[in-house]
């Protein structure tokens, strides 16, 4: 099974050419890859991703993906 990665908001700008019409990236065969490694795979600056939400739960960046995972990548910066 594949893994779905959804860059949220501003992060889309870093991988726009890879997004499908639903603003997501479907990745095959990512079993065991860490969230941090997947960011690098798709061109997201991993350090900018401050929150990973996997299947509606917060996960560490060292979390290893499993087939069918749905991942939201969120950058939280500050105020203004």
């Amino acid at each position: 099974m594949s893994v779905v990665v959804r860059p949220i908001g501003l992060l889309k700008a870093f991988c726009r050419d890879r997004l499908d019409e639903q603003d997501r990236i479907v990745l095959p065969d990512r079993n065991g890859r860490t969230l941090e490694a997947v960011c690098q795979d798709i061109g997201l600056p991993a350090g900018l991703v401050s929150l990973f939400i996997v299947n509606d739960h917060i996960q560490e960046r060292s979390y290893r993906l499993q087939s069918g995972d749905d991942v939201k990548c969120v950058a939280i910066i500050g105020g203004g």
């Binding site: 600056p45 350090g47 939201k72 969120v74 500050g78 105020g79 203004g80």
Partner: protein, 631 residues
């Protein structure tokens, strides 16, 4: 020769209609530099305890800094400070733009205003001269009209004007100061202090740039920054989308988007008020400040039902959330209008939005009715009532007269338990960041001497393990980053050191978006810039101590006005579970919070009541404060 500074501070006594120039020694600048620290020095040195914020004894300080005008990106800011009519303690607001560099070109590092004019006046400061001019024709005008009239009167289209509108004149306690219609010294009610002095504006213009010692070193840093800023993810994001482009959607997903007066961390209509929607529908162009390539400002326009005028810029994230999710409003055009009105009336968008959200919660709970609100159905989600309310607040009409006092004072007048709906610390309203999801923000809101302040310290997610900002922390002594939500001893230490850096920036007149941890320009480069600008053989250690000195000076001003640990509080709501969003159920722990305060005071050399100790004051070169009853 002094480098970086003009060596001149303008002193204006509006009661006596006199002015003079003060010329401090170089060590004064090296100790207090500019901005916040300089303002605190004068407030402590010259004002008695218990100053009435809206009385003639209050001292109003406009302070630039030796780094301003050097061309370093972001070094264009200034502090407006006084005793705050909102909190009764130290108050300040910072702004970028062009006013601060122009003040230095006009020959001054700061302007100090005391007393009260009998009739409305404005100050015209140009090429070393100070004039007190009649402002009778300006009184009652908004910032746009004020700018145009002063331009005409001084016959100079490039005059920089920091002004108040009707909200400042009417002493709305969270009135701000606005220059060029879009750069705001937003917080603390400094506009009301101007209004109380019958001071409509300070217009500045000059043709003599300050001298900087190592101009080639400065130019190298400026060139390097321009070549690299788009390679830095944060600077690129700021450039491409501004603050409205980086937060609403993200904070909503994270469950920390303040919604309906901080009941929830998620807004069901977040997509309607986010950066993408803004840029698709209302964005005109990007704007910026003097010498800054990042250009993070946004200009809004609409020819739709709300008719948004681009003259007044566009909403930052704070404004979008304060009038959006916090009020349950999903009409982004109305939010842009609210922003425009605040900039022409000179209202702080954060306090205005939070105070209206407070009133909405009172209305929903029957503590206010249509009889109290002049017929306004002041319910969450009612965009028209929200915008109508802004007019009323600025003019102090009807319910606006109540809400012009700020949420805490309004709550005390309403009674019936309304205080629990007032989301404030020390009387100043919360910014649009949820402390139940950001440990440092809980400390920043409670411990800032100005009342709730989101620029008092770091926003945690950028500095948790693995995040982009972590690699910038070792140079200020933080080797072990802490998780965002945590409120541990290590978090208190991280907050403490970062609070020094954030406060340092308010003293340097430097923007937190161009430099510091998590940004392109690192702290050692900031120190190098200070050395190049001033010619002082200074290093990171000295400027970090300047940051610490700034924090303690602010505390001393507030302590002398009566502040203590009892004021370092957060609203009860933050100790109750979030009602919605990813962090639903999350709350702050009271014992953990109190332990954090103890630890924080210990780290700062303050006693357990939050009072700076004699030893700490001497260590910071502030021994003289011991003699003026800070305790």
């Amino acid at each position: 020769m002094k480098y970086g500074t003009t060596g001149r501070i303008a002193r204006v006594d509006l009661t006596r209609q006199r002015h003079r120039v003060e010329e401090p020694e170089e060590n004064f600048y090296r100790t207090y530099f500019g901005g916040s620290a300089l303002a605190c020095y004068y407030l402590l040195k010259e004002r008695p305890a218990g100053v009435d914020p809206l009385g003639p004894d209050n001292l109003l300080v406009f302070a630039s800094s030796p780094l301003v005008g050097s061309g370093i990106p972001g070094a264009n800011r200034y502090t407006v400070a006084a005793i705050s009519p909102l909190t009764g303690f130290y108050g300040e607001g910072e702004a970028g733009g062009w006013w601060s560099p122009e003040l230095k070109r006009a020959g001054f590092d700061a302007v100090l205003v005391e007393g009260r004019a009998e009739r409305p006046v404005y100050l015209w400061i140009h090429d070393g001269q100070i004039e007190i001019r009649d402002a009778g024709a300006l009184w009652g005008k908004g910032t746009g009209e004020t700018q145009r009239l002063i331009e005409s009167e001084v016959a100079d289209a490039k005059v920089r004007v920091a002004a108040i509108g009707p909200a400042g004149e009417n002493l709305v306690r969270y009135a701000c100061v606005v220059h060029a219609m879009k750069h705001t010294n937003g917080r603390g009610g400094m506009g009301a202090v101007m209004g109380s002095k019958n001071l409509k504006a300070i217009a500045v213009r000059g043709r003599q740039p300050a001298a900087f010692k190592e101009t080639q070193a400065l130019q190298r840093l400026i060139k390097w920054y321009a070549e690299h800023f788009m390679d830095h993810p944060i600077e690129r994001v700021l450039h491409d989308g501004g603050t409205i482009g980086w937060d609403v959607t993200e904070l909503d997903e994270a469950g920390i988007l303040p919604t309906r007066n901080f009941h929830s961390g998620s807004f069901e209509n977040a997509d309607d008020i986010c950066g993408k929607t803004f840029h698709q529908n209302y964005f005109v162009e990007a704007g910026g400040c003097q010498g800054c390539v990042v250009r993070c400002k946004r200009v809004a326009r609409s020819d739709g039902p709300w008719q948004v005028d681009p003259t007044y810029g566009g909403p930052e994230y704070e404004t979008a959330a304060a009038f959006g999710s916090l009020c349950g409003v999903s009409d982004l055009e109305a939010i842009c209008k609210a922003h425009e009105l605040c900039n022409t009336y000179t209202l702080d968008t954060i306090s205005t939005g939070v105070t209206i959200a407070f009133a909405m919660e009172c209305f929903e709970n029957g503590l206010l009715t249509v009889r109290d609100t002049d017929g306004l159905e002041l319910r969450f989600g009612n965009a028209k009532a929200m915008v109508d309310c802004i007019h009323k607040i600025a003019r102090r009409e009807g319910v606006g007269n109540l809400l012009a006092e700020g949420s805490l004072r309004a709550a005390r007048r309403i009674g019936g338990g309304a205080e629990k709906f007032a989301m404030q610390a020390k009387g100043q309203e919360m910014a649009m960041h949820e402390p139940r999801g950001k440990g440092s923000l809980a400390l920043a809101y409670a411990l800032s001497s100005t009342g709730a302040n989101h620029t008092e310290g770091p926003h945690d997610y950028l500095f948790q393990p693995g995040a982009l900002g972590v690699s910038d922390l070792p140079e200020i002594g933080i080797l072990t980053p802490t998780p965002a939500i945590e409120l541990s001893p290590d978090k208190v230490r991280q907050f403490t050191y970062m609070q020094f850096t954030w406060n340092l920036f308010n003293t340097l007149g430097l923007c937190i978006f161009t430099a510091g941890p998590g940004k392109l320009m690192k702290m050692h480069q900031v120190a190098e810039a200070v050395a190049a600008a001033t010619g002082w053989d200074t290093r990171l250690w000295e400027i970090m101590k300047l940051g610490e000195r700034t924090v303690t000076l602010k505390r001393c001003v507030s302590v002398r006005q009566g502040a203590s640990r009892a004021d370092d509080r957060l609203p009860d709501r933050f100790f109750e579970p979030l009602e919605g969003g990813l962090l639903k159920g999350r709350k702050l722990d009271r014992k953990e919070f109190e332990r954090s305060l103890d630890l924080y005071y210990d780290m700062h050399g303050w006693d357990r009541n939050g009072i700076p100790t004699s030893g700490k004051l001497v260590e910071l070169g502030l021994g003289w404060v011991n003699g003026i009853n800070c305790h």
